[in-house]
Amino acid sequence: MSSDTSKFGEYGGQYVPEALMPAIEELDDAYRRYVLENEDGFVDEFRERLRDFGGRPTPLQRADRLSERYDTDLFLKREDLLHGGAHKLNNALGQVLLAKYMGKERIVAETGAGQHGTATAMAAAHLDVPCEIYMGERDINRQRPNVFRMRLNGAAVNPVTTGRGTLKEAISETMRDWATTVETTHYVIGSVVGPHPFPTMVREFQSVISEEARRQFDDQVGGLPDSVVACAGGGSNTMGAFSRFVSDESVDLYAVEAGGSSLAVDEEEGVAPNSASLSTGTEGVLHGARTKLLQDRDGQIVESHSVSSGLDYAGVGPELAYLVDEGRVTPVTVDDDAALEGFHRLSQTEGIIPALETAHAVAWLEQATSEQLGDSVVVCVSGRGDKDLESVIEETASREIPNAPDMDVFSGGMR
């Protein structure tokens, strides 16, 4: 069985149907050999492909106007410039390549915002492996451009109609596919969630973010930043941006969760109009891991909400839950309206249209105290916002967002 690293304190573990256990043990073994020990030159090939296909390293860019606004040295880690437009490719490419090394013939994956599905479809096309993506029906409708991209890369997109049709249901349905096809198929999970070894393995594939950022900051400024800020859905860009700073006690780590429309849980309706599992969740077991969850007092998982589909999830990575309990990571929240303002602010002040997920991290800067930010900050720009244009324009029109541009250039407006 897997080693002591299958748990982060009490969190993590392997709560999956027996049919999947042999595959998870096989994966654990492959992860050790190929990823940790570089067997058959896996790591070299992975790095090479991340560079040539993915476009790494991504820049660490000083944001001059935001630096001025918050009176600190503010740097953006530009994962939006990675191929596909989000950090997701770091993990997807790593796992699809690993699946090939393991001799698997087929890839399945879930997706929320469609970024992970897109990244997986790209990696699968690039490495010539058939690929099927499960996506909630509601997310299919709010992330249309990504659905087209997956189809263009040759992936099948399977709509999931159970529940509210978001990320939680997509993960459940992908696990069901995997339980049926496990002998030939690898499940490329999209964040630092799920049973061991997924949380550890995905974190390692994403750690290239902080590995680069740490070196780039030292080259450009010298030393370490005072704080690192990243949004957290499942928490993969978060753990990626934090992991190489975790042992540097002087660096404060802020995980920005989706506050949605309210932080309360409506037990009667079984909904939490937010996705703030680190800030408000309680310990429980979901999708293979013990972690912090949005649940009612019986243990039924409640429906989460966020304006951004990539953060709209009732769970979170077990390692992040552990680091929060340890006091190493500080969870904070940003609500839907503030996130939309953040979206427009980064677009206007820095010429970067961020993903709605990223917009949460950007928006938190507005709420943060100068003690929290310190003299230098690294913000992980986890993705670009092209996929969100339709929903942003729609969501902005139905709210009072003071800094939103006027869209009246179209005759008769947008609608």
Partner: protein, 308 residues
């Protein structure tokens, strides 16, 4: 020997599954009684969880019907307490419900103290204690592999309940040993890879799975995909000590419910009152139960005559 072992002692066991509360509590209790009359030797009662990752579409829909009818662990136990049937009862559910039960007070207290940290109050003991109190004999928890089952196994031992593990077609070698060490009552032999759901044929992996379990005495109940008396016969003839049947029975409940909702558009949970009566659905369940039990018995005769 527990009541579950005993249920397999004289001939092959028929082990039906239904989700309690599907489509409403009263009807589902009626359905359980019908299965008991139809010859059930053990009855698996589903306590619905919002994320049933091991279930196919049929049981997923049953879970949705039951949850939208307001089923909770507390109501489940209260209902089982009033249920009087001959067959011993097994609770089939997912680990988070087992883990959270009765822990919420302790949990909110520890949250106040430490700001939402891992709860000391949570754990499987209160759930098992209450289950024992209402007369449940054992558990099947499909998302709890042997590696994570220590605390639940301990609580079951404390209260004298069985914990039934699932063995999959992919389970071999050391894993199989480890599971067989921990399982009690019977072992649930998953006939095919995948999720629950009625199938027209018997999985060709069944024989090999049973062969791998040959050297253990514990009763072997085969489930996943069995839907007819003929299939039950084949599975028992292949060496099973029992057949577990879920989706084929849940399909009957679903059909009764949807026949109803056509006439009473809207609330499914109440709709069936205007369509197929609870008695009509119960009769159909009893009929299929008898067929399945007969099939199992016929399979045993064949297995007998082949041996002699």
């Amino acid at each position: 020997m527990s009541r579950l072992d005993e249920a397999f002692a004289d001939g092959p066991a028929f082990v039906p599954y239904l989700a309690l509360g599907d489509p409403d509590l009263e009807s589902s209790l009626e359905y359980v009684r019908a299965l008991d009359r139809g010859g059930a030797d053990v009855i698996e009662l589903g306590l619905p969880f919002s994320e049933p990752i091991a279930e196919g579409p049929t049981i997923q829909s049953a879970v949705v019907r039951s949850l939208s009818g307001g089923m909770t662990p507390t109501k489940f136990f209260d209902a089982v307490e009033t249920l009087d049937v001959d067959a011993p009862l097994v609770c089939m559910t997912y680990y988070n419900l087992v883990y959270q039960f009765g822990g919420s007070e302790a949990r909110s207290a520890s949250e106040d103290a430490s700001g939402g940290t891992a709860s000391e109050g949570a754990g499987p003991r209160p759930f098992v204690e209450r289950a024992a109190e209402v007369g449940i004999e054992g558990f099947v928890v499909p998302d709890l592999p042997a590696e994570e089952a220590g605390p639940l196994r301990e609580a079951c031992d404390e209260f004298g309940l069985d914990l039934i593990f699932i063995v999959a077609p992919t389970t071999r070698g050391e894993r199989l040993e480890r599971i067989m060490e921990r399982t009690s009552g019977y072992v649930y032999v998953q006939a095919r890879l995948g999720v629950t759901g009625a199938k027209a044929d018997v999985s060709d992996q069944t024989g090999a799975s049973l062969d791998r379990l040959d050297r253990w005495d514990l009763p072997k109940a085969v489930g996943f995909g069995i839907s007819s008396g003929e299939q039950a016969r084949e599975v028992v003839a292949a060496g099973a000590d029992g057949v577990i049947v879920g989706s084929a029975l849940v399909d009957i409940v679903a059909e009764g419910t949807s026949a109803a909702s056509q006439t009473a558009s809207g609330d499914v949970a109440e709709g069936h009152e205007n369509g197929d009566s609870t008695e009509a659905v119960a009769d159909r369940l009893e009929t299929l139960a008898r067929e399945l039990k007969r099939g199992a018995l016929a399979g045993a005769e064949r297995a007998q005559s082949e041996r002699t």
